[in-house]
Structure formats: C-alpha cells, structure tokens
C-alpha cells in the first residue's frame, strides 16, 4: 500500500505562490472579503510562510510553502470529539465535513495552523461559481477544512489506471500544487517505494521535517536551501 508524501525543495522554490492559487482553484476554496481577511479568516490550505531574520542590510528570509503536513502522528485527530477527522491507511489526514461540528479543537491542536474554519457561507459572486470544480464539494459555514492532498485526483487516477488495466504509475497522481510549480520545486509520490523520486529525495542529507521535535512525523519533507559552493574554476 502506498504512503503518500511530498518533498518541497526550498532551494528551488521561488515563493511565487502559484501552488497557493492552484490549490484554491482546484479545491473550490472561496475568497473571503477583504474585511474578513483582515481578521485572519482567509482560508488557504496551503500558504507560503515567511520567516524573517536580521536587520538591514543583513536580512534573511525563509519562505516556506506550508500545506497540511499529513503527519503520521497527527495531534489534530486525537482531539476531535466526534471522529470527524482521521488518517487513511495511505497516510492522508482527512476531514469528514458532514460530521464536523465546528468546535475547532483540531485547529488549535494543529501545531502548523493548517486547519481552517469556515466562518462564513462560501460566496462566489457573479459568475465565479461557474469556475467551481465538480470533483470537490463546497464546504458549508461552520465546519473545519484542510488539505486533502487532492484526494479526488487520486480517485480519478486510480479509475484511469483501472480502465487501462495497469497499476498506478509514478506521476499519475499529483496534487494541484505540485503539478503547477513553475520551478518544479515540489515532488509527490509514494514514500514506501524506495525507487520513487520522493523516497530518493527524502533520503537526501538536505532533507528535514518541519518542527520535527514535536513528534508529529510529517510526510511533507523539506529540502534545505543549500549554498553555492564556488565557481567551477575555483573548485578545480
């Protein structure tokens, strides 16, 4: 059985946020109005998180694309009083919207703040509802939502593979964020398969898991920035 995981190479990421918008369009996440956004109520399953250090002119900034990390040991699941969230056998931390009572214990428990509460009825003014993706339900007001690793795409990929009478191949199933990345900084695949690209990258000395010390065991793995090591002439 596959164990889905993602690798994000921070050296290649340009912080363009195409992944953020791709996620939003793919998953029918509404844009909240500016006033609500100012109160921190924007829903964004994937954000690019800046971490800024230093003073002018010695400033540095890490920009971290942060989806749900699909922890193997997710703190959010344990606190749900109604069993509205769980982890699938393939390692995806899922949310059952219909069962969610909106208590937001899970949003508090997630150390990465990757769970979002629907404070408002989703609005798609004018013709914007025409752009909705029929594969993904629109969540009602009052429930918590989060990244699904574009689970609907997995279902479709499985069906296609079945129809073609072949096993699911690497690259058949990619979440929208991974597919769009203009710098190909994001990789996705089966961490169980030692030959997969993600498994190979996860073994890299540059690989780290975010806030690992919390014991969450994330399946989104980052590759650290790395450095330029000199011109070829110098290295020779």
């Amino acid at each position: 059985m596959p164990r889905w995981g993602m690798v994000i190479d921070l050296a290649k990421c340009t912080a363009c946020q195409a992944c953020v918008v791709a996620c939003q369009t793919e998953n029918n996440v509404p844009c909240v109005e500016p006033e609500q956004a100012a109160r921190g109520r924007r829903i964004s399953w994937l954000t690019v998180l800046p971490e800024l250090h230093g003073d002018y002119p010695r400033v540095s900034m890490r920009l971290l694309p942060l989806p749900c990390l699909h922890c193997d040991s997710p703190p959010c699941i344990r606190v749900c009083p109604v069993g509205a969230t769980g982890i699938t056998p393939e390692g995806v931390v899922r949310q059952t919207f219909a069962r969610c009572i909106g208590c937001r214990y899970c949003t508090n428990a997630c150390p990465y703040t990757r769970r979002m509460f629907n404070w408002y009825r989703p609005e798609f003014p004018g013709g914007l509802s025409l752009a909705l993706n029929p594969d993904v339900s629109v969540r009602p007001k009052g429930v918590v939502e989060k990244c699904t690793l574009c689970h609907h795409r997995l279902m479709q990929a499985r069906e296609r593979a079945q129809a073609e009478e072949r096993p699911l191949a690497e690259g058949d199933y990619l979440p929208a964020c991974v597919e769009i990345c203009p710098a190909t900084a994001m990789y996705f695949g089966d961490l169980e398969d030692p030959d997969s690209k993600v498994a190979e990258l996860a073994r890299s000395p540059r690989a780290f898991r975010y806030l690992e010390e919390l014991g969450t065991e994330p399946k989104v793995i980052y590759l650290s920035e790395g450095e330029w090591t000199g011109s070829e002439e110098e290295r020779r």
């Binding site: 190479d9 290649k12 340009t14 912080a15 363009c16 946020q17 195409a18 953020v20 939003q24 369009t25 844009c31 500016p34 956004a37 109160r39 921190g40 109520r41 964004s44 690019v48 998180l49 800046p50 971490e51 003073d55 002018y56 002119p57 540095s60 009572i101 909106g102 208590c103 949003t107 150390p111 703040t113 009825r121 798609f124 003014p125 013709g127 914007l128 509802s129 025409l130 752009a131 909705l132 993706n133 029929p134 629109v138 009602p140 007001k141 009052g142 929208a176 597919e179 769009i180 203009p182 710098a183 190909t184 806030l211 650290s224 790395g226 450095e227 330029w228 000199g230 011109s231 110098e234």
Partner: protein, 804 residues
C-alpha cells in the same frame, strides 16, 4: 544559512500581522454555528463532460501556454501546457487567476457609449452594429477631412499577430501612430541599441548561465517571461544537475527576488551603475576579463583617436580613473571586499550574465545604468555564447505593402529625432496638449490602461479630455476607459483565438496559437474581429489590406507563412526537441507535417510552433553599430550629441565630453530637507505590470513578506519608523511635493533606512468592486525626463511620512 525555529517563533510568524488565525481566537461559539452549517444552502456545482483545451495566457507579456479543463461549457481549471517551450507545464499565480478574469462579476458586458460628459460619464448599452457603425462613421469622417493621421492607436498587452493586425489597419487607414505601452525591458533594449545597434531587444540563455548578476531586475517577480525565469531558477538549483548557478541580486530593497538569491547586495538606491563599473575595475585590473573578445569584437575599450586626430576617452581609462574601489564603495555603500569578491567570482564563473536597466515590468530603468551593466557582459565575452546574452530573433512574415504605396505623414512623436528610434508613449500627453505637430483627433486603446500605469498618467487623463473621440476595447471599466466615449469590450483570453509571439528575453522565433476554450460569457467581441469588421465597413484600401473575414483567417495566413518558411517545429516533448535540435544543427529539418492543413491542426493540438535552435555568432545580425562591434563608446550617442548640442549641454555635457557616450554613473538627486525619504515604487509578482488588484486570487497573496493583502502598504525600515515615532500598522500620510495619500505602515527590515516603498498596482478609482483599494504610487511620484534618452524617470521623488 540555517534557521532554527521553535514553536513560539513559529506562531509569531504564522500569526504574523493578521489579527490572529483561528488558533488565537477560539471560543466554543463555533458550536452554535452547527445548525447554521447544516442549514447552509448547498452550492450547486453542475457537471458535464470533461475536456482539456489549450490556450495562451496574456496576463503578462510572458506568453505561457495554458491547458484548460472544461466541464460542459464551463472552464474550471487552468494549468500549464506541458509542451509549451516557455513554461513547460508550470504557471505563475497570475496565469491561474485567468478564471477570475473570465467569470469576473464586474466585466464590461456589452458595447456602451457615454451619453454624459467626460467628467460625469453616463454609460448606455448599445448594439454592436451601432458601436461599430459609430466608430466607422467617425473614422470615415476624419479621413474625408484629411485628418486620418490624427488617429492614435495604443496597443498594450496582446499577442504578436493582433499587434500586426491593428498596425496594418492603422497604416492602411492612413495613420503612422501606432504606440505600444512601455516595458521595463526598454532600459536593456536601449543598451542593446546604443551598444550593439540591435533593435530587437536582448535575450538571455538563462538555463545555460553559471552566474547571474542582476542589477535591480525583479527577476522572480515579473521580469521578462516570469515563468521562464522561474523555470531557469529551478534548474540552477536542481540537485540532479550537480552544479548550482550563483544568482546575485543587487538592489536597495530586500525583495522576494533578493530573498531567493544566493546573495543580496544592498546597494544605495540609484548607484547600480557605479557598482557595475566598480566590478569592471576589478575585472580589468586583475585581468579577469575576456581580452580576446574585447580586442576583436568591441570598440572604445582603449583610448582612441578619431579621423580628425582627436583623442577620445576609452572605457578602460574611464573605469580606472573614475571608478576606483574606494570611491565606488563610498558611493554605493557596498564594502570594497564585497566588490572584490563579486568581481572575482563573476570573472571566474563562465558563462556569466549581467542584467540591468529595469525597474518594474512597465517602468524601464536608466539607460546609462543599463549600458554599464551590459558592458560587464561584453567584458566577459558573454555576448553570443551559450549561457550568455543573445539578440532576439522573431519570426517576421513580410508585411504586405498597401497598393498603391501610400506615403504616411510623419509620426506624431517623431521617434527619428529622439535618441532611441522608437515611439515613447509617455510623450503622447505632451503631443496632444501641444497640438503639435498636428492635432490628435481620436485615440483607440486596446489591452492597456495608460492613465493608470504611465508615470505621467494624470497628464494623459488631462490630455485625453482634449481629444474629441476616445475609444476603449477594455474588458473592465479601468481608468482609461472611464475617459472614453465608446467602449467596445474585448473577449478575455479563454473566449477568443489566442496567440502570442516569442516572449521578451526569449531568443528564438515562436508562435503560440489556440482556438477559443469557452463560448463568450457576455456580449463581448474579439477586438481583432471588431477591427476587421471596421476595415470592411470603411472599405477601400483598408478593406483591401485586411481582406480576412475573421481573426481566425488572419492567423491562418500566418500559419501558411510559417509553412512556407520551411523551418521550425510544432511544440513537442523536450526529448523530441533535443532530437530535432541535433538534426537541425547539422542542417536537417524533419517536420512532423507535410501540408499546411497538418501544420494548422498540429499547432492547435500542441499549442504552437517554434524554432528550437539559436544560431550563435551571427555577428552581422547582432552587432549593427557603425563600428560593427560592441561599442563601449556608443557612436549612436555621439551622433545624437552632435545633432542636439543644446540638449546635451542641458544634460551637463559640453560638446566633446566623451562621458556622454560612455556608460557612467548618473548624478544622484539630493533629498530636500523637508522631504527626507526617497519613495521607490516596487512591483510584486501577483500585481506585476500594475494589474491584478481586481482579482481576489491575486489580492490575497500580494504581500506575504509583510503579511499584507487587499491593501497598499508603505514599507519602512523599523529604525526609520522608530525615529519618526511610528509603529507597525499605523495609518500614515505619505506626502510628496505632488500630493499626499493615506496608507498603512508596514515595518520591514529589508528596506534601506533612507527609503520607503509603495507597491504598484493599487489605487484604482474605477472598475471592479475589488480593485479600488490602496494608493497608486505613480500619483505621488514626480517624473522627470532623463535628458539624453528622454526616458521618464520615477526614482527621484522624495517624501515625508507622518501619522494621520
């Protein structure tokens, strides 16, 4: 650099400037919303058959190929076309937001005429027949009165073929006045013209380069073809590639580009040219430059003597005497050790590239800075090498000559009299207001909002009030359209035959082309079809020049020309491309089509056609200066100075002063006592080109580094803010000699202590419900013409900031 972040730090970052995410404001009140949730109306998402169709993005000049998912008649997702050579399946957030353009609630839905006044317009919907009829009558009338040349067409962001069509229309009608909106790359293009004699603009082999020195180019935030730049960036840092290209960003502000670079060099604003020449100093004194290239292919490096026997200053002497390191370090605020190290790295990492002369994607930088930067490329022999600087080669089918050949009156802006031989749209307001050399009778605007985006947009707004007839083809009621008498709303990208030529900074010929993805949402029409209809209504020469019944027929003609040229390939996988390139390099061409029909179909299936090979070293094509060499000493500038002695003197150059013809550091403005801070506008990728604030997708990601969205913000250094007694989030006035505006203050340590920044793209007063927030920095900036090139400069305005 390593980051250690604990959970507390993390929450500080994640919480950021927003009032707190759900985590910080949790109450059990949520439970009470349970019933509301269950009672919420379900949002209906209709189904239908799924299809994938290709298109082209025109939200910036980058020309990315799109692959659009449709369900029934709806477009539901935009992705990148994996076969497209520019983006190879990737896309930037702007491209993705195309769906919000298509289905935007505030689009212009039908033709309208202004039945009120210019000051207080009243819009009335009219039929297309009436709209085209009105315009045709007007143009016919002007032609009868012999004033056809008084018609100006402003062409902005649209594909290559549409530009051709509009231009052909205008010429056949009898006006030479086709104007294009300025591009940030015009600075580099000025250097290409002055130093290489090339008008096509520069291209760069980004993928092949080993060292990139960017002097203020917002490389990852809207420069050139943004996705192309990002793709190259990803390749430089691909762990499988085995080597990493170093990317150095020289810029006063710690932009997102600077943050993603390997090194950020915080340079004093406006001194990029001095730094470039300081680097040249090291390259020359340490013998790190390409002496062979300099001796064989350049002019004006050494001191030289002209035919009259007069000795002229050479680039070497200029640099060695005037750009010594201690002087450069003092001027630029970059330490001597840094200059030495950068120059040595650059000198030893070949091929290397230097980019410059760019401020934002619609605002070109200073041409002398561009020349100083481009001189580094010449010093390193990076011209016409893999990984170096190339000259664009566009596929140009020959324009049919109107018959009988018609002599057009001189161009309104007389580009032959200016240093750079292309018409500069920013001169239009002056020409209109002066009524010279002749009166402007009508202005047609397509794909542009110059009143909003030109540094002198306010002046243009005034000027347009003097123009008897203004027509807009806009999709939204923007600042320029608000000045119009007639609106002929254009289709958006996905509703029309979409095409694009080779994007800026892309070296080889390319033509993207795709049929419409969806049926028009509103009563809009493709402006190209409207102009064709107009041509047929006008009849005569105009109709003869444009016999095509539709834009589809027009592009079909282009495909026939491509077929006839017997080169190039339709888009294909990169593997096939390598094969084609190998064949082509040895002189073989194995097309995948043998008839025009096949080519036409394949182009639509794959997204376009291109020539994958660049031919290096065609020196006759790329060096067209009088010396047939790269000119450190620009003879085009010398010629201009000889003809414009007074203007040169006004710019501070006495006759015979060689500095005018050589790259140099322009003088810096002094800050007046009452306005202590320099205001520099900045461009962010989501609002690149000053456009996008009306799209929620882009608005909400506009300022991640300062946790800002939906609003303008004023970036200030925390220390400067402290000195002014201001704190994060304050509403402040920012006041320049031109006026003041209120805006929220954001403390950002990446700002030079003597500078404040405002993002471009905010502060519309018209149009969409979402675009009308914030401040347009162009309204505060004093624009002055650089005296030699005539470029409008926007980097010299000082302001003061105080709490409101």
């Amino acid at each position: 650099m390593s980051f250690r972040v604990n959970r507390r730090d993390f929450l500080r970052f994640a919480g950021g400037g927003a009032a707190g995410l759900a985590a910080s404001g949790v109450t059990l009140r949520g439970l009470s919303t349970l019933n509301a949730a269950l009672a919420a109306e379900e949002v209906e998402v209709p189904g239908g058959p799924e299809a994938w169709r290709l298109s082209v993005c025109s939200l910036c000049p980058g020309g990315c190929g799109l692959r659009v998912r449709t369900i029934g008649k709806r477009a539901v997702k935009i992705q990148g076309n994996p076969l497209h050579p520019v983006n190879r399946g990737g896309l930037c957030p702007r491209g993705l937001a195309g769906l919000q353009v298509l289905y935007h609630p505030d689009r212009l839905r039908a033709p309208q005429k202004n039945v009120g006044s210019r000051e207080a317009p009243q819009w009335q919907e009219i039929s297309w027949d009436e709209a085209i009829g009105t315009l045709a009558d007007r143009l016919a009338e002007l032609n009868r009165r012999g004033q056809a040349h008084g018609v100006v067409f402003v062409g902005g962001r649209c594909g290559h073929q549409r530009h051709r069509l509009f231009q052909r229309f205008l010429r056949a009608y009898g006006s030479p006045n086709y104007l294009r909106t300025p591009s940030g790359l015009d600075g580099a293009q000025a250097a290409a013209y002055l130093q290489q004699g090339a008008r096509e603009g520069l291209a760069y082999d980004l993928e092949g380069t080993r060292y990139l020195l960017s002097f203020g180019a917002n490389f990852l935030e809207g420069w050139g073809s943004p996705v192309g730049a990002m793709r190259a960036f990803g390749q430089w840092r691909d762990s499988a590639a085995g080597r990493r290209t170093k990317f150095v960003q020289v810029e006063p502000r710690f932009s997102l580009t600077a943050a993603r670079a390997d090194e950020w060099v915080a340079v004093r604003p406006g001194t990029e040219a001095a730094l470039a020449l300081g680097l040249a100093y090291v390259l020359i004194t340490e013998g790190l430059y390409d002496a062979r290239f300099v001796s064989e292919r350049t002019f004006g490096f050494e001191d030289w003597r002209d035919a009259a026997g007069r000795t002229h200053l050479g680039f070497r002497s200029l640099v060695l005497t005037e750009y010594r390191l201690n002087l450069v370090a003092a001027l630029t605020q970059v330490p001597v050790e840094t200059i030495l190290r950068l120059a040595r790295e650059f000198g030893r990492s070949r091929p290397g590239l230097a980019l410059g002369g760019h401020h934002a994607s619609t605002l070109p930088g200073d041409p002398y800075t561009a020349m100083a930067v481009h001189s580094l490329n010449a010093l390193m022999g990076s011209l016409e090498t893999p990984g170096g600087v190339l000259v664009r080669a566009e596929f140009e089918a020959e324009e049919p000559r109107p018959s009988p050949v018609r002599r057009l009156p001189p161009h309104l802006l007389d580009p032959d009299d200016t240093l750079l031989p292309w018409a500069d749209l920013t001169r239009l307001p002056e020409a209109i207001l002066a009524g010279k050399p002749y009166a402007v009778e009508a202005v047609l605007v397509h794909g542009a909002d110059p009143v909003f985006s030109l540094p002198n947009g306010e002046q243009l707004a005034l000027a347009l009030q003097r123009v008897p007839f203004v027509v807009s083809f806009a999709s939204f009621l923007d600042e320029t359209t608000a000045q119009a008498d007639l609106i002929l709303p254009d289709h958006t990208d996905l509703e029309k035959w979409q095409e694009a030529g080779s994007p800026p900074t892309f070296p080889v010929p390319l033509q993207s082309l795709s049929p419409p993805v969806v049926e028009p949402v509103h009563q809009t029409r493709d402006a190209a079809d409207v102009v064709l209809a107009l041509a047929h209504t006008l009849g005569g020469e105009v109709a003869a020049a444009l016999p095509q019944g539709s834009f589809q027929e027009f592009v079909r003609r282009q495909v026939e020309e491509i077929f006839a040229a017997q080169t190039g390939y339709t888009f294909t996988t990169s593997l096939e491309e390598t094969w084609n390139r190998l064949l082509e390099r040895s002189g073989w061409w194995a097309p995948t089509y043998s008839t025009v029909e096949q080519l036409w179909e394949q182009i639509q299936e794959r997204g376009g056609w291109w020539e994958p090979n660049y031919y290096y070293g065609e020196w006759k094509r790329v060096l067209r200066t009088p010396s047939r060499r790269f000119e450190f000493y620009s003879q085009a500038l010398a010629r201009w100075a000889a003809q414009h002695v007074d203007q040169a003197r006004a710019a501070g150059f006495e006759p015979g002063d060689d500095h005018l013809c050589l790259p140099h550091q322009p003088p810096l403005p002094e800050s007046p006592a009452e306005f202590p801070l320099l205001l520099l506008p900045v461009e962010v990728l989501p609002l690149a080109g000053g456009d996008g604030a009306h799209l929620p997708y882009l608005e909400q990601i506009a300022g991640p580094h300062v946790f800002e969205q939906w609003e303008s913000w004023l970036e200030i250094n925390p220390r400067t803010a402290g000195e002014l007694g201001l704190v994060e989030g304050d509403r402040v006035w920012v006041e320049s000699p031109r006026g003041r505006a209120q805006v929220r203050l954001r403390l950002y340590p990446g700002v030079h202590p003597a500078v404040v920044h405002l993002p471009l793209g905010y502060g519309r007063t018209q149009g969409s419900r979402w675009g009308r927030r914030g401040v347009n920095p162009l309204g505060l900036l004093e624009s002055q013409r650089e005296p030699v090139s005539g470029h409008l400069q926007i980097t010299r305005t000082y302001v003061r900031v105080y709490r409101s």
